[in-house]
């Protein structure tokens, strides 16, 4: 009951950031941003980097960011805190706990372990222990199931792996998706349209593990061009990136097609045509930008998802990325890993959404006024 009320109050606080006045936003947001950058920077690269990041971030925000962006920044911190709290409650509700091994341990041993890892029996107490550790000591805590490693040490090497596969996949998804989608949208109901939309249908309906398995059979087992699995060279990057990219490419293609279709019937395109602009200039300079809008709003959360890895792709190709920790953390009830991955994922999602909003303003002059 108390938990439910706390969560409601948390939502209230988060919602209230939308009504922050311009003056208070200009003070609250840079402070919160500084705090976040300091904690993150210190956990990743040490005290000094944390301070530099915090000061420069706050200064940038104070002097350059418009009020709406500041409100969004102010919104970030309380929502992360609420996320940690809610995740903690949910974790504690799940049956079992990280200290239940196959062979029974002495209750005293369990007490000692709980004290060592900072995992009290009560969820709310754990929340405070965790927050204290995060803010004061600047650490995501020790992993309970991977002995001798902190969560930073687990996620630290895994995140760049996932991000590099993710970026490559994202680039592929955009390249493939936009080419198919725009060319289909320019000639609706043509052979090219039907052909590319059939391909897209495959991309959407075939799950990752099927595509991945097909790739493995063809390129690794039959042709022997690429290694089956593992990590250590650019050749290990290709199949996972393509596997990860195809479903996203399919979505991008569909959005780009409908966007292009719609834009091409707009008045300003007719005007451009009427004044005799060549077709490729119309498409590239005028239509493309506008037709990208739905794609961009999809790419925000998609980028967060694609860069935090995929459990399926990573296990299939034996890639040491971060996606596995989402699943393993939950299965092992490794509370600190669960929270660490949740923070990173939601941090990425909220920041990419912010980036998307900014990109909107750049792409669509009509939006600029509201920012």
């Amino acid at each position: 009951m108390i938990e439910a009320i706390t969560i409601l109050v948390g939502f209230g606080i988060i919602a209230s950031t939308a009504w922050l006045g311009p003056k208070s936003a200009k003070i609250v947001a840079p402070l919160l941003l500084a705090l976040m950058l300091y904690i993150g920077g210190r956990a990743g690269w040490g005290q000094l980097t944390g301070i530099i990041l915090a000061i420069s971030g706050a200064a940038l925000a104070y002097f350059f960011a418009p009020v709406r962006v500041l409100r969004r920044v102010a919104f970030l911190v309380p929502s992360l805190v609420l996320l940690i709290y809610t995740t903690t409650l949910l974790m504690y509700r799940a049956p079992g706990n990280p200290f239940a091994g196959e062979k029974v341990a002495d209750p005293q041993v369990e007490m000692a372990l709980r004290a060592h890892y900072g995992v009290p029996k009560d969820a709310t107490q754990f929340f405070f222990t965790y927050m204290r550790r995060l803010v004061v000591e600047g650490t995501l805590g020790p992993s309970i199931k991977v002995a001798g490693r902190s969560v930073e040490e687990l996620i630290g090497p895994a995140l760049p792996v996932s991000i590099s596969i993710g970026l490559l996949a994202l680039a592929l998804a955009c390249a493939i998706g936009l080419t198919l989608g725009v060319s289909a949208g320019l000639r609706p109901n043509s052979l090219a349209d039907y052909g590319s939309m059939t391909l897209v249908l495959f991309g959407i309906s075939l799950p990752n593990f099927v595509i991945g398995a097909l790739f493995i059979i063809v390129f690794a087992l039959k042709l022997g061009w690429l290694p089956v699995a593992g990590w250590g060279g650019y050749r290990h990057l290709i199949m996972p990136a393509f596997t990860l990219a195809l479903p996203y490419a399919a979505y991008v293609a569909r959005l780009a097609r409908s966007g292009t279709l719609e834009v091409m019937q707009q008045d300003f395109i007719r005007t451009a045509r009427a004044k005799g602009l060549p077709r490729n200039i119309i498409v590239l300079k005028h239509a493309l930008k506008a037709s990208l809008l739905p794609v961009v709003s999809f790419l925000g959360p998609a980028a967060a998802g694609i860069m935090t890895g995929s459990f399926v792709v990573e296990t299939l190709f034996g890639v040491p990325g971060i996606g596995q920790w989402f699943v393993k953390g939950a299965i092992n009830r490794d509370y600190s890993v669960v929270l660490g991955t949740a923070i990173i994922y939601s941090g990425l999602i909220t920041s990419f959404n912010l980036v998307v909003d900014l990109a909107y303003a750049w792409l669509d002059p009509r939006v600029r006024g509201t920012l």
């Binding site: 049956p95 079992g96 001798g148 040491p320 092992n332």
Partner: protein, 671 residues
């Protein structure tokens, strides 16, 4: 337009940089060979680890007093160059090599073993394998007696006082269920007080308040005795008793009783030494075994440990036997996905798939390959019954279910890899031990009769049974086959349901199931590792099963002396006392060697009697089959013994599937 192009190119450059950065961390020269270990090791601390994947790596990084000979798995000289055993078979004297050293060059001495064994036994460390040293004098007292005393003084005493206040007298059945609920048997298992022993096994009649009060006083005394014993152990262990270091290169171990498998324990990873000078440096206690900090004494060094990617082991030049180690570098892969494992093996990315790391559906395709090796394992697959819940609290029901299962059909149709149907709990292959005659082989007529006697003729009125298993395809198939057999053979409706691992563990531990799937892997090749888990309230019992005679048998097999002093009390409860009487005679008359042989036989006979309670009288569980190990090994790997080869020409299966990395190498030549 150009601006867009430039930003796209820039983004691409950043990507490439990042990719290059992540790879640069993982560039090592190609190893001699790679093997798939099945999972990421949870820890490399020998005193805290459990599990086979950890065992393989730890045994390559560290070395105990003895090690496994790869051909016979018998104890071979490790850190100890040679050893002697006293005539009463209770004192081992190990002579350590003078050239044994840590990887930082520091000499390894007997003091390192004193520290390490005490560390393993330290209750504050919480090592699950601490009990492995319990055959050593004072080891259990050091590790557990304090917590026993606290359990007696705290909850047990309080519950007993409440019981005495409420009741004038109490009947035997109530009393036994009280003892079970109050977890009395565990902390009192070693008591020598007659009043406690008598009342713990009190099964008929009723107890007066005086008797209960006497028990309560006995508890006070017991707690005091346990604490004294614990204090004594803290004072003496490692110095004047248990294990001692008379000089830098001599390590003496005193056992409670002759323990024939003791040298197997000294080869087993929990007894390996850990570097005190690293662990006790500030900030090192929980991560001293990570790649930057570790100092070890075994055949290999930990060069790289990239979580979820690989572990690189390099040959250790400071290892005393480095001339015998023929591999210079090897990679340990933590791959878990079974299809990926098999693909890696088939394309030569991995040279060895350790036990059963391939999709089980493909067994029929793989079993005919020349590089596919199978052999029996020291592992039993079984079902637990909830011995406390109706109708499974009726022994006839448990017996009937055991009789109604066609185990042969399961091993042949569902598994098909040469697994043996289990009609006992201890797998075959224990030297000097044969399981008792079984009463659980398929017999439908008898099963139906028993079920009718229990009040469920033709399964009528039998509640629907839930069969719990941890999520896994094979467990699911077996559970469904068994549910079907129960329906068809006994008319019992059963439903198989699964839970993922952590939930499954908490359900089983809370004994909140009807029937639950389980498996047990032997820790050493002695039947005791399978049987001592079934003592009343044993941590791994988890069925509610309790039999005082069983507890007594296990206790006496662990320490024969009280039994030898007064055998008759127990003998009258046994099925085959004649055999033990005969051995007692020859032990009394014979020489030291004959005596120790006779004692060994008596010990095995006591264990056999204990197992007979499981498969002839009480049936707290339903054994189903014994596992096989199967490995896929590239023939270019040498030093593999799928069958053990003894000097006298005898051969035996490699039951434990142990292949020491120290002795595996690759024949060099064209790839």
């Amino acid at each position: 337009m150009y601006r867009t192009l430039i930003s796209v190119l820039l983004a691409f450059a950043v990507t490439l940089l990042l990719v290059g950065f992540t790879f640069s961390a993982s560039l090592d020269a190609p190893p001699d060979y790679r093997f798939v270990n099945g999972t990421e090791p949870k820890t490399l601390d020998p005193h805290l680890a459990t599990g086979e994947p950890e065992n393989r790596i730890i045994s390559a990084l560290f070395e105990g007093l003895t090690r496994y000979d790869p051909k016979t798995l018998e104890p071979a000289p490790g850190v100890a160059e040679h050893w002697t055993l006293s005539p009463d078979l209770k004192t081992y004297t190990f002579h350590l090599r003078t050239n044994a050293r840590w990887s930082n060059g520091r000499p390894l001495t007997a003091a390192d073993f004193i520290y390490s064994w005490k560390r393993l036994l330290d209750p504050a460390l919480g090592g699950e394998y601490a009990y492995i040293l319990f055959p050593v004098q004072y080891a259990e007292a050091y590790n557990a007696y304090k917590s026993y005393a606290e359990a007696i003084r705290g909850p047990l005493k309080a519950k007993l006082t409440a019981l005495i206040e409420k009741n004038e007298s109490i009947d035997a059945a109530r009393w036994q269920s009280f003892l079970a609920e109050a977890d009395a048997h565990g902390p009192l298992k070693a008591t020598e007080q007659k009043v406690l022993r008598d009342l713990l096994t009190f099964k008929q009649g009723s107890l007066t308040r005086e008797q209960l009060n006497a028990f309560s006083q006995g508890l006070d005394l017991e707690a005091k005795l346990l604490l004294e014993k614990n204090a004594e152990a803290r004072e003496k262990l490692g110095k004047t008793a248990g294990f001692m270091a008379p000089d830098d290169h001599t390590f003496v171990v005193e056992l409670k009783a002759p323990t024939p498998y003791f040298l197997e324990i000294t080869s087993f990873f929990p007894t390996m030494p850990a570097p005190r000078f690293v662990i006790e440096r500030p900030g090192n206690s929980s991560d001293w075994f990570t790649q930057k900090k570790i100092v070890n004494n075994g055949p290999f060094l930990l060069k790289t440990w990239n979580v979820n990617e690989r572990i690189r082991l390099n040959k250790n030049p400071t290892y005393w036997g480095h001339d015998e180690v023929r591999a210079t570098a090897l990679d340990v892969l933590p791959t878990e996905q079974l299809t990926t494992c098999l693909n890696m093996y088939l394309t030569g990315e991995a040279d060895w798939l350790t036990s059963n790391l391939y999709p089980s559906d493909l067994v029929q395709d793989l079993r005919h390959r020349a590089d596919f090796h199978t052999g029996p394992a020291l592992t039993v697959y079984y079902y637990r019954f909830n011995n406390k819940k109706k109708p499974f609290n009726d022994v006839r029901v448990r017996h009937a279910l055991n009789l109604a299962i066609d185990r042969k059909l399961i091993v042949e149709r569902v598994l098909g890899l040469g697994q043996l149907p289990a009609f006992s709990f201890v797998p075959p292959g224990m030297t000097g031990y044969t399981s008792p005659r079984t009463k659980i082989s398929l017999d439908l007529a008898h099963a139906r009769e028993l079920l009718a006697q229990a009040g469920f003729p033709g399964g009528q009125g039998f509640p629907e049974v839930g069969i719990l298993y941890n999520s896994n395809e094979t467990h699911k198939k077996i559970a469904e086959v068994i549910a079907d057999q129960l329906k068809r053979n006994l008319g019992i409706a059963a439903k198989a349901y699964n839970q993922e691992w952590q939930s499954y563990i908490s359900t089983v531990r809370g004994i909140n199931y009807d029937i639950a799937r389980a498996a047990w892997v032997g820790d050493y090749s002695d039947p005791n590792t399978f049987l001592d888990m079934w003592v009343t309230n044993g941590g791994n019992n988890q069925t509610g099963f309790s039999s005082p005679i069983y507890d007594q048998l296990i206790a006496d097999a662990g320490n024969l002396e009280p039994f030898l002093a007064n055998p008759e009390g127990l003998l009258s409860h046994l099925k085959e006392p004649a055999m033990i009487r005969q051995e007692l005679e020859s032990a009394r008359a014979g020489s030291v060697a004959e005596k120790s042989e006779a004692w060994g036989k008596i010990r095995m006979q006591l264990l056999r009697e204990a197992e007979s309670i499981l498969v002839q009288d009480e049936f707290p569980i339903m054994p189903i089959y014994f596992y096989v190990n199967s490995d896929l090994v590239n023939p270019r790997l040498r030093g593999f013994y799928h069958e053990l080869e003894f000097p006298d020409g005898k051969r035996a299966p490699n039951f434990k599937d142990i292949h020491p990395l120290r002795d595996i190498w690759v024949e060099r030549g064209p790839p």
